[in-house]
Amino acid sequence: MKVDSIKNGIVIDHITAGKGMEIYSLLGLDQLECSVALIRNVPSRKMGKKDIIKIDADIVIDTAILGFVDPDITVNIIKDNKIIDKKTIELPEKLVDVLKCKNPRCISMTEQELSHIFTLADRENRVYRCLYCETKAK
């Protein structure tokens, strides 16, 4: 399968196969008017299979969320057909309105206007905890 290379934009590479759609939704790519390609199950020497997203526009994306969903992703910034920046993703310190706390005793369950905030409690084991009640994210 062939998808044209892009001149100016972003290539999100090394997405774990099957997670492409989740990332597409999380980044709100359905809202963009430019060409966006989600390619699933691309053969990969390193990973066996992978997903790739190509965005044909010079935009800024929130890479912090990517670090939480799929930390081995790479983000390539393309300018004039060349990769000018290759970013590996770090786990974000804070996730706002990405996850919801599952603890029925947590204040975030009842206060409608409250942001759902999780903070990184253990980088090594990728553990996030609710800011309000410290319950582990699942």
Partner: protein, 303 residues
């Protein structure tokens, strides 16, 4: 402006300062009788807790201040559906400092993010209860004279017992403190607290046997199995009598072991122990008031 939501917001140096202030209040109460003249404490208690509320109120009155507030959610605007954030903003217009108890975990943090006056967490669900920890620490300080080199037994409901979580958080920062966690399997300490101990290389052991563990202890911290933390009445009834401290169980304990309990007690400490010199739980109540006085002074930045 500072609030106190979690005991770990206070450094060990600040804890030492609060303890020194409390010691001085005990020695010279008159010196502090007008420190908060003209100031108001709002006690916002969204769930009943007579002793913590009265302790805060007594603390403020003994500093010369005044108290406003409510003692159950039904008599507050929460019953009309007001958010914690809005309540905090409104009460900030009336009071100089807020003490909040709430059944939802994290509610006092939300209040502190929205209030323009200091907020003290007076207990949030099964989560934190830092001012009880201040009472516990002053008791340990006055009974044992140290926070280092202690073997601390925590017994009963270690799952929902927020006082246990806060006390562990405070004590794990000191040298050579070992915890013995005594509870039925269903009420074991939550994983996140255990993870924090492992991460800091703090020595701890889990057991179900109080009689065996008691021999080693410098401090025995008893807790009540709390009905209000259970969704299931049957489970509460099954576990409520898991650990009852009796004079017979104390036979093997050290002569200078200190017995603490955040109170109220139901039946987990036999009244026959009340006159034992090792029973410190009523002194602990008094110390709680002095530490709340010291905390109010600190957060109001009263010299």
């Amino acid at each position: 402006m500072r609030s106190l939501i979690d005991i770990l917001e206070l450094s060990t140096k600040e804890l030492d300062e609060l303890i020194s202030t409390a010691d001085d209040i005990i020695e010279n109460p008159q010196k502090y009788a007008h420190k908060c003249d003209g100031k108001k404490l709002a006690t916002l208690f969204f769930e009943p807790s007579t002793r913590t509320r009265l302790s805060f109120e007594a603390a403020m009155y003994e500093l010369g201040g005044n108290v406003i507030g409510f003692s159950e959610a039904q008599s507050s605007s929460a019953s009309k559906g007001e958010s914690v954030a809005d309540t905090a903003k409104v009460i900030s217009c009336y009071a100089d400092i807020i003490a909040m108890r709430h059944p939802k975990e994290g509610a006092p943090l939300v209040a502190s993010m929205n209030a323009t006056v200091p907020v003290i967490n007076a207990g949030d669900g099964g989560h934190n209860h830092p001012t009880q920890t201040l009472a516990d620490l002053l008791t340990i300080h006055r009974e044992k004279g140290r926070f280092n080199n202690l073997t601390v037994g925590l017994c009963g409901d270690l799952k929902f017992g927020r006082t246990v979580h806060s006390l562990i958080a405070a004590l794990r920062r000191y040298e050579n403190v070992k915890f013995i966690l005594i509870s039925p399997a269903e009420l074991k300490l939550p994983d996140y607290v255990k993870e924090s101990l492992t991460k800091d290389n703090v020595d701890f052991v889990e057991t179900t046997n109080l009689e065996e563990a008691i021999k080693e202890l410098d401090i025995l911290y008893m807790t009540r199995v709390q009905r209000e933390r259970f969704f299931n009445e049957e489970e509460y009834l099954r576990l409520k009598d898991s650990y009852i401290l009796t004079p017979e169980k104390l036979v093997n304990a050290k002569k200078d072991m200190a017995i603490l309990h955040p109170l109220p007690r139901v039946n987990e400490i036999s009244v026959a122990i009340d006159n034992d010199p090792r029973a410190c739980y009523f002194k602990q109540v008094l110390y709680g008031k002095y530490m709340r006085m010291a905390l109010i002074l600190k957060l109001l930045e009263v010299e």
